[in-house]
């Protein structure tokens, strides 16, 4: 199988695997007072210190969660108290569902948040909590976090950023740019699933109201015994070097190929994550494309799949004003260990799929035509 669905979950990084396995060998609960407990606590606190160093934060301002969904929900819960909440139109459901009554900040057709509108909305909602993703999971479009943070600061608002897709794939100190909190995911960076974190700026770490009170773990911020192995794996995964230039070259190669067959790239006018290609094939249902590619052994995704696996039209692309194309786009997201062979296989499968669905002649390209 050719796995090109890294934005759903990155393949496990070997370093993350080794760290997680070592953590699994540690018997003990970090809350216990005995030696075993202290050993477990050491693993937990090392991970916390690692994240603090990586994201220019203080260790005491980091709370571990079950994943980015919980981290985003906790941010809205903790920082949204007594504030209006504004969310970007292309935010992940984790944020949209956590703030169902939030005002929605529109995006431009490029996928970038409309900063002019944000400024106007902030004037109408002083003291708001603004939630923006660093990079969009479907299109890879990167918001200008510095500009958004600047706008927030000018109106006395605060900014929470969802860095689930960006952390580990690009180095940017969002807290230094002015964010009040940052949501992180472990498995989106090549760690084991089951861990995430919410990183606060030093100004906002103190007043956290927990979602889960539980046994008072995480200094009362988040009840429940922490998933030690997943947390240790997350810290290791996020710390790995990311070959952005090489991955972007592969992405650009696939992009040019898809466009040559009639594909239309979503978010092409914005800065994007190096690994993400969202491409619509006009007139061809996204699920047909996805099934055809899966049958050819290539794993990609489309829109946001519900737990049934049903592919609905993408709310992200609808918000960008893409109309019917919102139901005709697939997301190709290259994993950290993507190879040229993966790209070649994708191109072959895409060509077959597109030709058949567009009722052209279903003749595969020869290998010679792929060589470049």
């Amino acid at each position: 199988m050719i796995y090109l669905d890294a934005n759903a979950s990155e393949p496990l990084r070997p370093e993350a695997r080794a760290t997680a396995l070592a953590a699994m060998e540690v018997t003990g609960n970090p809350s216990s007072v005995h030696q075993a407990g202290r050993a477990a606590r050491r693993v937990l606190e090392s991970a916390r210190e690692s994240l603090a160093a990586q994201f220019a934060a203080r260790a005491q301002d980091i709370v571990f969660t079950s994943g980015a969904t919980e981290a985003n929900a906790l941010a809205v819960h903790a920082l949204g108290r007594g504030r209006s909440v504004l969310v970007g139109a292309t935010e992940h459901d984790a944020v949209r569902a956590a703030a169902p009554k939030a005002a929605v900040i529109p995006v431009l057709p490029s996928g970038l948040v409309d900063l002019l509108m944000l400024d106007q909305m902030l004037a109408a909602y002083p003291n708001a909590l603004v939630c923006l993703m660093v990079a969009n999971n479907e299109t890879g479009v990167r918001h200008d976090i510095a500009a958004a943070a600047w706008a927030c600061a000018a109106h006395g608002a605060i900014l929470h950023v969802d860095a689930a897709q960006a952390a580990g794939r690009c180095r940017e100190d969002w807290l230094k740019l002015g964010a009040s909190s940052v949501a992180l995911s472990g498995h989106k960076a090549g760690g084991p699933p089951g861990a995430g974190a919410l990183v606060f700026s030093s100004a906002h770490g103190e007043h956290v109201a927990p979602l889960l009170k539980g046994g008072g773990q995480e200094r009362g911020w988040r009840g429940g015994t922490p998933a030690l192995a997943a947390i240790a794996g997350m810290a290791a995964a996020l710390d790995q070097p990311y070959e952005a230039v090489k991955i972007a070259e592969y992405r650009d190669e696939l992009e040019a190929f898809c466009v040559g067959i009639g594909g239309q790239v979503m978010g092409a006018d914005a800065a994007r994550m190096p690994n993400t290609l969202c491409v619509a094939l006009p007139g061809v249902r996204a699920d047909t494309q996805l099934i055809a590619l899966d049958m050819a052994g290539v794993a990609v995704s489309a829109g946001s799949a519900c737990s049934s696996g049903k592919v609905a039209a993408s709310h992200v692309l609808l918000a960008m004003g893409m109309g019917d194309l919102a139901g005709q786009a697939i997301r190709v997201s290259l994993p950290w260990n993507v190879t040229q062979a993966d790209c070649t296989a994708f191109k072959q499968a895409y060509e077959m799929m597109a030709r058949r669905a567009l009722h052209r002649n279903p003749v595969p390209l020869t290998q010679a035509q792929f060589a470049n």
């Binding site: 061809v284 249902r285 699920d287 047909t288 996805l290 099934i291 055809a292 899966d294 049958m295 519900c306 737990s307 049934s308 696996g309 049903k310 592919v311 609905a312 039209a313 077959m352 058949r356 669905a357 279903p362």
Partner: protein
């Protein structure tokens, strides 16, 4: 062959997937998500997918075949549910399963199967497809009590060529369940599905009312001379030929009065004796699965899903297609009239208003 199997999550289509898999075909299971299950059962926050989708996934897993869920909600709403309500509001009695087969299963899904490069689409319908001299023929199922040919009359010849219906050759549903049992499918003992899948409460009028509240507005029941007989709570609750829910005494001859006509404009239900039925039935949207007859064609016709076929002459000319029944009958507009020659379906159409 590469075969797409339409899997509903019930025992029939699950067995079809298993049979195709056992026959060595590359099987792609597809479940159409027709409506939001959570909304249909009125449970806020419930998953959009019902138990049936989970069952279909489990069967596909057990068989080791690919399985996908395809979003058909918008299409189902527009071309089945909304049409269903509109039809009632216009005084007719629709058959949503025919519309679903026509537009979703043998329309969109079949097109998807072609787009995927499949060689055929197989479903769990109880009908038979028999290779004839002039192409595929559609026949009733061996098990007459399960036969679904009436619901498939609108399948075009081109669609029929692409379809496979392996269950039509089974003598009984019990045999199909035995096969499911042998394959170790968890759905082997699952109860049969209900009549109208998107009306889980069984009250179709509620659904009609959501789309077309006007179809549930009160009106008058009158006799054929326009004389007032009573009132009713919406024309959607009545079908031509119906004797129930009129709340009227029998006529002078002791015969129950039946609905003879539904007038959506005045919201009047016209009642009269059943005996005064007509022999002529006009049809619309006729589909032929045999050569179009150049002169009157003697055949058996079925005007309802569950009735004994009756003899008629079918005429097709510039004015359209009409039936001349041997014995008069009250045909309900919106229902199907399907033509049979023995077990073979020759074609059919919808009864015109």
């Amino acid at each position: 062959m590469k075969i797409v199997v339409a899997m509903s999550g019930g025992v029939d289509s699950s067995v079809v997937a298993g049979l195709m898999h056992e026959a060595g075909h590359e099987v792609i299971g597809v479940t159409l998500q027709l409506y939001d299950h959570g909304a249909a059962v009125g449970r806020k926050g419930a998953c959009c997918a019902g138990q049936d989708i989970h069952d279909a996934k489990r069967v596909a897993d057990k068989l080791g075949i690919a399985h996908y869920v395809v979003d058909a909600e918008a299409r189902f709403r527009a071309s089945v549910m909304s049409e269903f309500a509109d039809s009632y509001a216009s005084g007719q009695t629709p058959v949503p399963c025919i519309a679903c087969n026509q537009h979703l299963k043998f329309g969109d899904l079949l097109q998807m199967a072609r787009d995927l490069g499949a060689d055929a689409l197989a479903t769990g319908h109880y009908v038979r497809r028999i290779e004839g001299a002039a192409g595929a023929e559609l026949h009733q199922a061996l098990d007459a009590s399960r036969d679904q040919s009436w619901f498939l009359f609108a399948t075009t010849q081109e669609q029929l060529e692409f379809c496979r219906f392996p269950l039509g050759d089974y003598a009984s549903k019990a045999q199909v369940r035995d096969v499911a049992e042998r394959m170790g499918l968890a759905v082997a003992a699952k109860p049969d599905s209900q009549d109208i899948c998107f009306v889980p409460s069984g009250s179709y009028a509620d659904i009609v009312g959501k789309f077309r509240p006007d179809a549930l507005e009160a009106g008058e029941i009158v006799d054929e001379d326009g004389g007032f007989m009573g009132t009713h709570q919406g024309i959607a609750r009545y079908t031509v030929g119906q004797a129930k829910r009129l709340g009227l005494p029998a006529d002078a001859q002791g015969e129950a009065l039946v609905v003879r006509k539904i007038d959506p404009g005045t919201r009047r239900i016209v009642v009269g004796p059943r005996t005064a039925a007509s022999r002529v039935v006009k049809l619309r949207d006729v589909n032929w699965l045999a050569a179009i007859p150049s002169s009157g064609l003697r055949a058996q016709v079925k005007l309802r899903a569950r009735e004994i076929p009756q003899a008629a002459v079918i005429t097709a000319d510039g004015a359209g297609v009409a039936l001349l029944l041997d014995a008069p009958a009250l045909a309900a507009p919106g229902q199907a009239a399907v033509f049979y020659d023995g077990s073979r379906i020759l074609g059919g159409g919808f009864i015109a208003a």
